[in-house]
């Protein structure tokens, strides 16, 4: 090795730089803690919630519409069930929805975007055209239609959201993969005889991962919000399963006297959404990508 070529082995690694900027970004850390708390509450709900029996069709008329006190920290609803318990279990439904939607929408959207960005010509035209058509459908109208045609329940709400959600990922990944596909290293791989599959999964996809993960985190917030909207409109989970959106809808009838019935689930939606948004913003700064 020639003496003049500087040794770069001690250079800052991207991983170190990303971790450094993440740990020095207070909002990202707060967001991460909020998300972790939501996940912990949801996963360990039966252990944490004070009245796990209030999740189902329990009735406790003696304590109905109780204001928050030391027995029921966040008060009770119209049949006397503990709202804190139901909010904690409500997180479960929200996260289930997030996982269900994103586990399908993200891979499909990313795969289509990847294909459209790498292959030009008709593949690109058809995929981007179809994506644009899907983007033109108002999500709420689509969900209402599906909810009315099929039975309104969690799975159908999930299907409705998924059907539209992949489009955003397709668009984003399309943009990124198109720019990466024109890089020299992709051409070099092709000249080395690499297959399309290899180029898509080994050369282009790894360079899209940071964008996809940031977008997915930000998406989680929107899915929670959208899921709550659907169940607020009565298209989500069926009672008595606790769901943040339908709890707001239930409590709404008793406003303004029984304010706790709306405030607790409303705040829970706000808390989860904000957590994912802050985390997503933090990741975006950390990976230095545009979403």
């Amino acid at each position: 090795m020639a003496a003049t070529e500087t040794d770069f082995t001690n250079a800052l690694t991207p991983r170190y730089m990303a971790w450094y900027s993440f740990t020095r970004n207070p909002t990202a850390i707060i967001g991460a803690l909020m998300v972790i708390s939501v996940v912990v509450l949801a996963v360990f709900a039966p252990l944490i919630a004070p009245y796990p029996e209030h999740v189902g069709a329990a009735v406790n008329f003696r304590a109905r519409h109780a204001a928050p006190d030391w027995t029921y920290w966040l008060g009770t609803d119209k049949v006397g069930r503990d709202i804190l318990t139901r909010v904690i279990f409500g997180f479960r439904i929200s996260l289930l929805l997030v996982v269900g939607v994103l586990a399908i929408a993200v891979p499909i959207g990313s795969a289509l975007g990847l294909l459209a960005g790498y292959f030009s010509g008709w593949t690109e035209k058809i995929i981007t055209g179809f994506t644009n058509v899907m983007l033109a459908i108002p999500p709420l109208v689509m969900a209402l239609a599906i909810g009315n045609v099929l039975e309104p329940n969690l799975v159908n709400a999930m299907i409705a959201i998924t059907l539209l959600w992949w489009t955003w990922h397709a668009r984003l990944v399309y943009r990124v993969s198109k720019s990466i596909a024109s890089e020299d290293f992709v051409e070099a791989a092709r000249l080395a005889g690499a297959s399309h599959w290899h180029i898509l999964t080994r050369e282009i996809l790894p360079n899209c991962i940071s964008v996809i993960s940031v977008k997915t985190t930000l998406d989680a917030a929107f899915v929670i919000l959208f899921g709550a909207t659907l169940s607020f409109l009565g298209l989500g989970v069926k009672p008595p399963t606790p769901d943040l959106g339908s709890m707001v809808a239930d409590g709404r009838q008793f406003l303004p006297e029984m304010w706790w019935g709306v405030l607790a689930p409303g705040f829970a939606i706000f808390y989860a959404t904000l957590g994912f948004n802050l985390l997503g913003d933090g990741l975006r700064d950390m990976f230095d990508v545009e979403v």
Partner: protein, 559 residues
């Protein structure tokens, strides 16, 4: 001569990601009144940081640890903010490096110039009217040889050529008659002929207006034309300084000597002549043209003739150089030979068979491979050296231990140690990355390698090593090179045959000795004459260029 600017024991450190980088160590330099001083060094040596410290434009994470910067005896570092800002543009000003990104594309040139002038006037407390400023701007534009200031002012940055933009940048720095001009690699992004014009212009401006010049560059040929005194920087330290003639003829430091030796000579005793190859033609190109057309849905499309009726033959075992300035079509020719784009017209044959029939086949991959200009973009940042090298081997059907052995062999061939297989590109220097790129091209075991400006992104000393490696590989493996470059002095020494391209056509071809000693085409003469060289002897042996030819081929810079 009194000192206009003196930098005394300057220490600067950067704080990034919780680490402290000591980038300038005890830098001391002096610029005399009316003197021309050059600061030379390779990438990362701290040249630009020095100029930024003088100008007061260091980024926020930089800290001046100690030292003084004296301008006419006053320490600018101790000055209050306002007083220091008032020096910008009037005491010293900078000629920017990149003629394109220095302009905001949505504003007209006139607006850029007027803004700078207006704010400088405000800082100095002068009141000026738009019309009066316009007069002053026109005057400065004429000074930088832009003949039609009105048109230049009304143009958007993208409507001007690179040379014209560079001239406007020079005009920007001259708006307020500064006493010290700092030129940070001016013209590096431009073609040699344009760069030559810019150098001459700066030189004249400095001489006519009695300015002092601080020239920051890595190009020693440029230094010879533009400086009287030289400071050599390395790793943030000044390792040597002295008058130009002394540094060039009797460098004291090994590092300086190494820098000077790394520059390929254009003429003289040190020039290497490559043996002409006697083999049969392996690449034959016959009357090839390439027209880029776009046909929009509405309106008339554009037609751009990138390559026009080019014929050439590359013999087995030779280094064929394709020279030309940007936009001359040399890369397009190479991409057609590689089968990456189709020719609009004409025949391309490799080993007697048309490229069209072979492209994409495994046999064709063993014929021809490419090394790209920028190793930063030709290696996937998310893949290790080993993973990158495995691709061509795996797709050639190699499996298991054979792959590992071959990777080790390839790394050995390009002088990289074994353990580099697990390194990512960001852990490598530019030269090491280019070695990996060469190893990848070798992996397919090709007969021909297209070298698309393989060293233009590297420092000269690294370039020398890479060229030595390429020469050795050619001898060991019997390779044929198609070498694309705009660096004529490098091509003089490395190529066994060379062709000069101008606007899509080959204007001259032959063995380097003959082309450089007796260039026939006026463009070739103009091109060779513009190459910056490091000795007077070489300067004298350059071909003469008549003013008429200069006008004919170098028109676009001055408008």
């Amino acid at each position: 001569m009194s000192e206009l600017l003196k930098v005394d024991g300057l220490d600067v450190s950067f704080h990034t990601y919780g680490r402290r980088l000591h980038v300038l160590k005890d830098v001391t330099l002096a610029i005399p009144q009316g003197g021309r001083v050059a600061l030379i060094g390779e990438t990362g040596s701290g040249k630009s940081v020095t100029s930024k410290a003088i100008l007061g434009t260091l980024p926020g994470n930089a800290k001046i640890e100690s030292g003084r910067i004296l301008f006419k005896g006053d320490d600018v570092l101790a000055m209050p903010r306002g007083k220091r800002d008032a020096l910008k543009g009037t005491a010293f000003s900078i000629i920017m490096q990149d003629p394109l990104s220095s302009f905001n594309p949505v504003f007209r040139i006139g607006r850029h110039l007027d803004d700078v002038m207006r704010f400088a006037d405000l800082r100095l407390g002068n009141r000026s009217s738009t019309a009066e400023r316009r007069q002053r701007i026109f005057e400065v534009l004429r000074k930088v040889q832009l003949a039609d200031p009105e048109r230049v002012c009304a143009a958007y940055p993208s409507q001007l050529s690179g040379g014209m933009r560079q001239r406007v940048l020079i005009a920007l720095s001259l708006l307020h008659q500064p006493q010290l001009l700092i030129a940070d690699e001016p013209g590096t992004a431009l073609d040699v002929t344009t760069q030559d014009e810019i150098m001459k212009l700066i030189n004249r401006l400095v001489a006519e207006n009695g300015l002092s010049l601080l020239m920051i560059t890595h190009n020693l040929g440029v230094v010879r034309q533009m400086a009287d005194e030289i400071y050599v920087m390395r790793h943030g330290e000044i390792v040597e300084h002295g008058p130009l003639s002394e540094i060039f003829s009797r460098p004291r430091q090994a590092y300086t000597r190494q820098l000077i030796d790394a520059i390929p000579p254009l003429y003289g005793a040190n020039v290497t002549d490559q043996e002409p190859a006697a083999g049969d033609a392996i690449v034959e190109i016959d009357g090839v043209s390439k027209v880029f057309e776009d046909r929009p849905l509405f309106g008339r499309g554009h037609r751009h003739v990138a390559v026009n009726d080019v014929s050439l033959a590359i013999r087995r075992g030779e280094v064929f150089g394709l020279a030309g300035e940007s936009g001359s079509g040399k890369t397009t020719v190479a991409r057609m030979i590689m089968g990456l784009i189709r020719a609009s017209d004409g025949k391309l044959r490799i080993d007697g068979k048309p490229v069209e029939e072979q492209r994409g086949s495994a046999a064709f991959r063993r014929k021809i491979q490419i090394v790209y200009q920028n190793p930063g973009t030709s290696l996937n940042p998310k893949r290790t050296v080993g993973q990158t090298l495995r691709v061509p081997l795996a797709f050639a059907g190699m499996r298991g231990k054979a792959v590992e052995d071959r990777i080790r062999e390839l790394l050995l061939q390009v002088d990289l140690p074994d353990h580099y297989v697990s390194k990512y590109p960001h852990e490598l220097s530019g030269g090491q990355k280019q070695r990996v790129a060469i190893a990848r091209a070798l992996a397919a075991d090709p007969e021909i390698i297209v070298l698309d400006e393989p060293t233009s992104a590297l420092d000269v000393s690294v370039q020398k090593n890479v060229i030595a490696l390429l020469t050795r590989l050619r001898e060991e493996l019997g390779l044929t090179y198609l070498f694309i470059s705009h660096d004529l002095s490098l091509m003089r020494n490395f190529c066994s045959r060379i062709a000069i391209m101008l606007r899509g056509e080959i204007v001259e071809a032959g063995e380097p000795r003959q082309v450089f000693e007796t260039p026939e085409h006026p463009y070739t003469r103009a091109l060779i004459a513009a190459v910056p060289v490091i000795s007077d002897e070489e300067e004298k042996r350059k071909p003469a260029v008549s003013d008429e030819d200069r006008r004919r081929y170098l028109v676009d810079t001055a408008a």
